[in-house]
Amino acid sequence: MSNDALIVGGGLQGCAIALFLARAGWRVTVVEKNLAGRHASGVNAGGLRSLMRDVREYPLSLRAMDMWANLADVVGAAAAESCEVRLGTAQIALAMDAAELQWCEARSRSMCRRDIHSEKLIAPDALHRLLPGLSGAALGGLISRRDGHANPANAARAFRKAAEATGVRILEQCKVHDLAPKPSGGWRAETDAGAIEAEWVLNCAGAWGSALAARLGETLPIKVTALSMMVTARVQPFITPVVIGIDQPLSFKQSAVGSLVIGGGILGKPCLEGDTSFTVMDRMASSAAATVAAFPVLAGVPVVRTWTGLEGATPDGIPFIGPSLSHPGLWHVFGFCGHGFQLAPAVGEAVARSLVSGTLDPRLTPFAVDRLQPQTPRKEEALP
């Protein structure tokens, strides 16, 4: 059987794209070397955040927020329920010192100039009302009231199941050994499940995306990172918004079951070849310190678990999304830098729409895969 599209990587992005392609009538196969959603997709803080996003991601992020709000339309009612989507809990970036406060003010002015009004400055008194236990040292911050969070592992599973229900074939524990364009057009992949042919190939391989691109002769640099989170014992519900730091390694929320999920972008030790990563507690100390500095009442709350997941980070902090410049029929969609979770439904929709219509969705233009290669100017720019 020949496919319209072969997607390499069964994470959230790959499954979301597969879902929207299948809805448009495409025959799609997803190959996943491990288990679908095993790394960054299932193992992240589950933030549904537009706050402090790179402005280039805003159009996609706004669309994604609408899709999360109506997730039943995307993955079905029961699956949507399992994702524990909580929007409107707000996300707050805390300014703990004067420099961070100045940054908030500058950011706020800049966003106003761009006519983006989702994040606003928040005064200390309002901040303390929203965040019980917050240190008196907090000076203010930015709030994005519509933001919220979801359960990442369940969301990865929901998108995967929805894709399968729409006819997508998902092959887990299936490695791609060889991938090459066919002379007659289209692609042929040799995999653990045998040969798979497709008109299009989408590189949704996350932390492995760069390596896959390199096998096809393309240089798309990412830093492989092991995002780490820690989880405390359950405590009584006390905080609704998600709190993130500005210069501090701080990020925490209270999960549906009451545990505090603490991140802050601290990285563990990645092991790409071993398909795994390790928690490095020596580094988590700074994250715990930032948490306790902002919320001194939490000093006695015990951390009971940590987890890490592999992710790719690009040099400029936004993902690669777009057609390959050297291979027709190839797209790259990876390098989400630890904040791709919220974007996923919109990425799936925009990429699928671009492929099906043959016209690049304009919201994807900032993510062009050659944006970091000034030495190979685009054709139109090369003209005198």
């Binding site: 761009r114 795994t276 700074s286 890490t308």
Partner: protein, 499 residues
């Protein structure tokens, strides 16, 4: 490991194995740190022995009930206290362990890392978790728990007591209770006469003392008129907010016993939490329904296959019950044997020459009774997997039925089930449910081997308060270089370039 080590050897656990190992190493001039969870040395077997000796004559009745094998620990305790060069740190939990000899510790609200060129795990055993209906009810406790309450709490059970399960500890406890005038309503044993017949074939001369000891217990219990049945099955605890009755099947008949305290025991298994977290290889033992660390005879552990956090050789040895269940004498023998092996590796002469050969022989002799005991007391309460309504994960209250449903739905791996159902995500971090889940997975996929390891383990292995973590000392300056995801946008983000 680029940092100056804090000691030559760090020993985790101050039970018989840990103490014996520490004494020999310190006597040979090594710097030894001993970390132990308990407030005083002795492990579970000699728990609170020093305090109970000091509190005489008020504790005479207790000491006499606990018998000579308890008091026998005093010689070892005294040597442990008297040996210079042992930096003993009680009340300290270990929450991280790396194969390169790094140990994460917590004492009160202080935490940190310590490093040594060798680490010895002497963290003992745990009672085999055996889920049955009602096992989470207040008033259901393990035999080990009741013994701990005897030794450290100076408490004896009262009211209507039922002892259920198998293993020598049941008899020992029953005999100790007998001496205190406590008479259980029933000792309900899962083991059967035919287990004994099978076991006798494995009896070696060195195992005779254990056999005689056991027969002595049985005889005294019989003379005291304590009711005992063998071959029981189908144990259930019933009650609303506390156990009110125990139900079980005896000789094909279902009986119900009013009960205030149900004491259960299904044998003991090595505590593998630290070994597993350090990335050491474990092996599933089907006949024992448990994992055991893979070690050489002198306790040297090996790394599990696959990637590891730290590079370089594995610096960890495992001794005592944490390696092979054998009881106090075996633990002492192996603790000394492991110490000898470390001294040889450090090219230091042992305090007593020729010790290595002797301790090797002692290890063999002290473990000689095990094949007999293992055959005589096979897992009983845990022999059959629980029915669907029974809770497997005590922390998150996940039933066997929910686990089976997830497995049927395609979750074929321990960590996947954990992620889906939170089984093993609670405070105990899977200590009570991992083996049962592994067996449930094997039940559904009989063609696949039992998972070679419990849930993926990451630090902290025990709860670590945020404040303690924030103020941690002994960080590795290289590892502690915080690498963070630098994704803070410019305040006036990319004003012209990208929009």
């Amino acid at each position: 490991m680029s940092i100056v080590p804090d000691a030559d050897i760090i020993i985790v656990g101050a039970g018989p194995a840990g103490m014996a190992c520490a004494i020999d190493l310190a006597a040979a001039g090594c710097r030894v740190i001993v970390l132990d969870m308990q407030p005083s040395p002795g492990g579970q077997i000699f728990r609170a022995l020093e305090a109970n000796m000091q509190a005489r004559p008020g504790t005479d009745e207790l000491l006499s009930a606990l018998g000579p094998s308890y008091k026998a620990g005093l010689a070892l305790l005294t040597r442990f206290r008297a040996t210079p060069g042992i930096d003993y740190r009680p009340g300290t939990t270990v929450w991280d362990l790396r194969a390169d000899g790094t140990v994460g510790w917590l004492k009160g609200d202080a935490a940190g890392y310590l490093r040594a060129t060798h680490v010895v795990l002497a963290n003992g055993a745990m009672e085999r978790p055996a889920p049955f209906p009602g096992w989470t009810l207040p008033g259901v406790m393990t035999a080990g728990a009741v013994q701990t309450l005897l030794k450290a709490g100076r408490l004896k059970p009262k009211g209507r007591i039922v002892l259920a399960g198998t293993g020598p500890l049941i008899f020992l406890l029953a005999d100790q209770l007998r001496r205190l005038g406590v008479r259980p309503a029933l000792i309900a044993r899962t083991d059967r006469a035919r287990d004994k017949v099978a076991a006798l074939r494995r009896l070696r001369p060195a195992g005779l003392p254990a056999l005689l000891k056991g027969l002595g217990w049985l005889l005294r219990l019989r003379l005291a008129g304590v009711a005992m049945r063998t071959g029981i099955s189908g144990l259930e605890a019933h009650g609303r907010s506390h156990i009110e009755s125990a139900r079980l099947t005896v000789a094909g008949k279902r009986i119900e016993l009013p009960c205030d305290l149900l004491v259960v025991h299904d044998g003991i298994v090595p505590s593998t939490d630290l070994a597993h977290a350090a990335g050491l290889a474990l092996a599933w033992r089907d006949d024992d329904a448990s994992w055991q660390p893979v070690t050489t005879r002198d306790g040297q552990a090996e790394m599990a296959p696959g990637p590891a956090l730290t590079a370089g050789p594995c610096r960890i040895r495992i001794t005592g019950d944490a390696r092979r269940i054998g009881g106090a004498d075996a633990a002492i023998a192996h603790g000394r044997h492991a110490a000898g092996a470390i001294l040889a590796e450090l090219s230091r002469p042992a305090a007593t020459p020729g010790a290595a050969d002797r301790t090797g022989v002692d290890v063999e002799r002290s473990l000689a009774a095990r094949p007999f005991l293992d055959a005589a007391f096979p897992p009983g309460l845990a022999a059959n997997l629980p029915d669907d309504a029974t809770i497997v994960c005590r922390c998150e209250e996940i039933t066997a039925g929910a686990l089976r449903a997830a497995i049927r739905d395609g979750a074929r791996e321990m960590n996947l089930v954990r992620g889906l159902l939170r089984c093993g995500m609670g405070a105990c971090q899977g200590r009570s449910c991992a083996a049962t889940l592994a067996r449930l997975l094997a039940e559904a996929n009989p063609d696949r081997p039992v998972s070679p390891a419990p849930f993926r383990a990451r630090p902290p292995l025990r709860p670590l308060p945020l404040g303690a973590l924030a103020g941690m000392i002994g960080l590795d300056p290289d590892l502690a270089q915080v690498e963070s995801l630098d994704d803070k946008p410019e305040a006036s983000a990319g004003d012209d370039a990208h929009v």
